[in-house]
Symmetry: C2
Subunit: 233 residues, 2 copies
DNA sequence: CTCATTATTATGTATAGACATATAAACAAT
DNA sequence: ATTGTTTATATGTCTATACATAATAATGAG
């Protein structure tokens, strides 16, 4: 097969993908080395390298020096999970957005937050509680902790007109984060805030973001019944 | 700044990252072009290209021909969401795994599935209902539809000893998929299967996978109370 | 002034060649 | 048998150069 039609890295990638999906190269298989593929495809080794590297990045190939390139046994797919500005999410669905701050105070956080954010025992955090509404109906309850030692800019913000969610997304870059998804049954407290029945199933996101080794913020978002989060893999 | 210490693409990437995080280059800013950076860093343009391309892939830079390279205003982070073999997930937590097939039949699916899987109106699907258990307690309820026209291999499988989840992950590669996360309140049906209280909040994953333009399978996973899904961004 | 054409420019990509680096496998020494 | 050393090899990366491509900016025709 000395086909001269593989002259760019995308077409090489497509051909490799075809061979993987057609099970010509099965999961776990060692595929020919770059030099051989370059000869077969009639292109430079760098072009093959670009294609295989890209497939390795997306998790379909495992590459190791000297050992060669193998088709991944159980590929892990990447999904894009953005941290949305809730206002835009609601307005994007064609609803009118309303935001309401319930409380704001600087306090010593509970043990759970200290652990999750790896705080010093005497760190005082800004605790914000608020609700985002769509067409007047509660959409999501935001329960947030912000570390003012890491984000000193926060001291000048009142969070009356702009939610902590929006302000943080717009102003504070982060280097990493972790997210936990779960469900809970509404207690009297949540059912009151979200205007739903008690013990109703609610979708929950717990998320912390970090800069360097320090936690910027940790938030629990409890969504009103019916909320769905969608993504592609 | 004619520092000669940027001789590989990672160090160039690190320096660019530093300038972004230190807000020397702010979100929205146009950064110097590749040729200028190459001169500044004392390396080839291709090296700068590799670094910037990588940062663009991870969403921190926006690049357009002629227009140049800008720092992304609202970066979207990528998370790795694998499709786990539930057996391994349970055993990985140190519990003993048990799988139980409740029903298996080939039928014309309901409207919702026809729509979600973009089926022809007369497509008959294999409908599988089963439960995965950890230490004898229900862990997740699996309600799955498989298209035997797309996956003819499925006709030879009984799903008595191996769950459809595990068989599909091990044997059927897919090219894309979509996932929806939500919560529901347990009905009498779910509370019976998952041994939980009626109306308790349950975490739900709806997932479809595709090969080319055709849906391979669509599944609803309803998890027992307390389940959490975790990922990093 | 408007619209189509052309020039300019920044990124995108291909190439050959060279060297770097990790590491499996063969071999040697204990 | 175990440990340490060498060697061969596949991937990783850099370089200089060239051309491709997209898109903005400048230009000119009507």
């Amino acid at each position: 097969m000395s086909d001269l039609s593989f002259r760019n890295w995308q077409s090489v990638q497509d051909e490799v993908l075809r061979r993987i999906n057609s099970r010509l190269w099965k999961p776990g298989d060692l595929i020919p080395n770059e030099a051989e593929l370059a000869t077969e495809f009639g292109c430079a080794r760098a072009t093959v390298n670009r294609a295989l590297q890209n497939l390795a990045d997306s998790g379909l190939l495992d590459r190791r020096r000297k050992a060669g390139t193998r088709v991944t046994l159980h590929p892990i797919r990447k999904a894009t999970l953005d941290i949305p500005v809730i206002r835009r999410e609601i307005e994007g669905k064609g609803h009118t957005y309303l935001y309401s701050l319930i409380s704001s105070q600087t306090v010593i956080p509970p043990q759970g937050i200290i652990g999750r954010m790896q705080l010093k025992p005497d760190d005082r955090l800004l605790h914000l509680v608020c609700v985002h509404m769509a067409d007047g109906k509660p959409y999501v309850f935001e329960n947030r902790w912000i570390n003012p030692r890491v984000v000193p800019e926060v001291s000048g913000v009142r969070f009356i007109d702009q939610s902590p969610n929006e302000w943080l997304v717009e102003n504070i870059p982060f280097s990493s984060g972790d997210i936990t998804f779960s469900a809970l049954s509404a207690t009297k407290f949540e059912s009151g805030i979200l205007a739903c029945k008690e013990s109703e199933g609610l979708f929950v996101i717990d998320r912390s973001t970090w800069r360097g080794g320090e936690a910027i913020t940790s938030v629990r978002l409890i969504f009103a019944p019916g909320y769905q989060m969608h993504t592609d893999i």
